[in-house]
């Protein structure tokens, strides 16, 4: 049974969080160990396993990113497999592989990494380059803003997915799914960059 079914939810991405929480508590109570105290060991063990699965399900569905990733997995999307398959196509056809992440983001990621390296090097020598620090601060704000923008974008894709599910529109589902994949890929770059910049600025 997938996580959505555990809560009797449709496989939709817009989730009523308070309702989810309520039903999580209700289901948890049913599985509470106290209720099984006088039951046979096998039954106790089964309830325990079910309860830990319930916890995983709740944690996954509660979190917007984890929920989206989980749904994509149910849809059979494995990011790594996708990338490898694309390389194989490039190898056999001789056509350049289309990078999953937009080239300008790669460019920015590379540039920022260069600056970070410079910053770390300067620090090692016991120097602090105010200009560099200032640039990194600016980069950090820019990436933070991009990161928040992805959240709004993701939510609009959720609506598209949910609507496509309601109307049973396969083409629209595929379009929404692919858009979510590329958004999550972009997001993983942004997240790494923000993390690295924060690290460099703090220490």
């Amino acid at each position: 049974m997938d996580y959505f079914h555990i809560f009797s939810l449709p496989t939709k991405l817009t989730v009523d969080l308070p309702a989810l929480e309520k039903s999580f508590y209700a289901l948890s109570r049913k599985l509470h160990p106290d209720r099984f105290a006088s039951r046979p060991a096998a039954e106790q063990a089964a309830a325990l396993a079910e309860s830990s699965n319930l916890n995983d399900a709740y944690r996954t569905l509660k979190d917007p990113i984890a929920r989206t990733e989980y749904l994509l997995k149910l849809e059979g999307i494995e990011l790594e497999e996708q990338s490898k398959a694309a390389t194989e196509v490039a190898r056999t056809t001789g056509v350049a592989k289309k990078q999953i992440v937009p080239p300008d983001l790669l460019e920015e990621a590379f540039e920022l990494n260069m600056q970070l390296e410079e910053m770390r090097m300067a620090k090692k020598m016991g120097e602090d380059d105010p200009q560099l620090r200032h640039d990194l601060q600016a980069a950090k704000s820019a990436f933070d803003a991009k990161m928040s923008a992805t959240q709004a974008e993701l939510e609009s894709l959720w609506s598209k997915w949910d609507a496509a599910l309601d109307t049973n529109n396969a083409a629209a589902k595929t379009a929404a799914r692919d858009a979510m994949v590329s958004l999550l890929n972009r997001r993983s770059y942004l997240r790494n960059l923000v993390r690295d910049v924060n690290e460099a600025l703090e220490t």
Binding site: S83, T87, Q99, L106, A109, Y189
Partner: protein, 140 residues
Amino acid sequence: MAYSDKVVDHYENPRNVGTLDKSSESVGTGLVGAPECGDVMRLQIRVNPETHVIEDAKFKTFGCGSAIASSSLATEWVKGKTIAEALTITNTDIVKELALPPVKIHCSVLAEDAIRAAIGDWKKKNHVTEEVGVAVAAAH
């Protein structure tokens, strides 16, 4: 995770780290990324316009040890090869040479992508369109 000796060697003494002049006609630049982990790799080649032999290769990778080792190895391998020969290098070759575990396969994929991207860039710059096949054509 334990890295193989070869990975450690390339990681600690990376070969050919650096930059070639991006704007030069004879230089091809490939910038690629692994969405799985958010790492980026840049690989550059300088190609002899007459012979199509790769005379120099440089890389700069921001990523894990396996990615650094894969790109270091890739630059070593492409040097002295023709464009057509370099295109026959696959990520599987890299995995074998460095004894990479399954979770690190995407790092080697990145290096293969980088080689292809650099060659693609050079071809575009030099208007080379000839179909460079997967296998180097056998002499008939």
